[in-house]
Point group: D2
Chain length 138, copies 4
């Protein structure tokens, strides 16, 4: 853990007023926290570009009545065992499921896994959330 | 459930070759499935713009040693009880947690929830995955 | 024009070091300027969401040998005369042109114009850059 | 130039109806053209990832009263002479200018140029549109 450093920055008055309004609308308790978030957002982008170990979430929406589909998704997840931490399965309605897969590993592996899952016939929609191990984001 | 319709489309030869190469790299088994994905991707964007009922996932990375933070995140999740389906908690290392929150509801509610969670002091990174209930994506 | 306000913010030491490294790589001369940019980036997103008067650039890549295409693009641009400021035309090679269209107006008009131009048969690629009149970004 | 190839694809009826509605709203004259656009969009993303020769547009909004700023922007543009094709300058109001810079070259050069221009003190907003030389998009 590292200590907090305090330093000054200068902003045009109008810009600061607009920023204060925006962070109030987004529920930030103070400017420092809002700034920290803006910075971390940029750093996470860099982590994914650099291809270092990252964390993410893959979401899949599919119709679970297609039995073959479920088997295929399970097979793929086993192939990427080292990358997948855990999976959460939600019954959205009689037909549709949402699967949330927590992943951790090199950025390229995770992208490959997400692409492979999304390409399976019957998967209606897939997304990849790009987040961080948190280690570089004190 | 609706039946499959088959129809023809015309593409320049070069473009089709490049597309075939791309979908092979992304593991699609055939062109139809790749086209369906491109279409669904556009439809999901429209669902979020239109503000109808959507499905998503919020990811949060934070240091669980900050007890107050955990309480605050729990309080917020209770305020949005109608929107949150379930939550998955992962211990990334001694300090860092990953939380995956499955959400369903009007697009504006979900955006509001994600903004509120991300703004909590101590949350290192947050993302919002925009997906679909699957109902409109046969 | 408004004066500069100076105020303090606190950041964890490690986060600040990573940020300093990042802004050096991106050529910022000091932290204040980097912070101003992060803020303005967020404000411009809000301007486009709010649908106020914005500024942007539409890019189009197309094969100018298709005469009908050029006429159609010109017709559309005339229909949106109030929104288009000026157009820059570049000969990329024997076949391909790049057109850069500077636009100003309500966000929805500009999106509509970009969608309409991109949909013309023969346009190979189109983009819309979302920027600002600068008035709200002191 | 290459000839057109015609082939069949299958889509669920509901999905096709939704797609037809969407492309009508976006002014496409037929499905083939809409599909071509979806494909080209994916191919351009790949071109930028692969770092091959690409085309783009940098937009800058700034206050031209800051003389030093204008000199600095000009100096940078000269340093990237090989990458910049031409520049269009628009007077938005008494204070604000919009500059549209047409660029062509390796993806990394263009990103570097855009980062450098955006980081100059006094530039209020900058964007980078990622497009294509059109050569790979028949």
């Amino acid at each position: 853990m590292s200590g907090l450093l305090r330093f000054g920055i200068s902003l045009p008055k109008d810009l600061l007023e607009k920023f204060d309004k925006l962070i109030k609308a987004k529920n930030y308790s103070n400017r420092s926290e809002a700034f920290r978030d803006l910075i971390r957002q940029e750093l996470v982008k860099e982590e994914w570009k650099a291809g270092t170990e990252v964390v993410g979430a893959v979401t899949l929406v599919y119709d679970h009545h297609k039995r073959e589909l479920v088997n295929k998704l399970t097979d793929i997840q086993h192939d990427f065992q080292g990358t997948i931490i855990s999976t959460q399965h939600i019954h959205l309605d009689h037909n549709n499921c949402l699967e949330l897969i927590a992943v951790k590993g090199p950025a390229t592996n995770i992208t490959k896994l997400a692409d492979t899952l999304k390409s399976v016939n019957g998967v209606k929609h897939g997304t990849l959330s790009m987040s961080s191990t948190g280690k570089g984001l004190k």
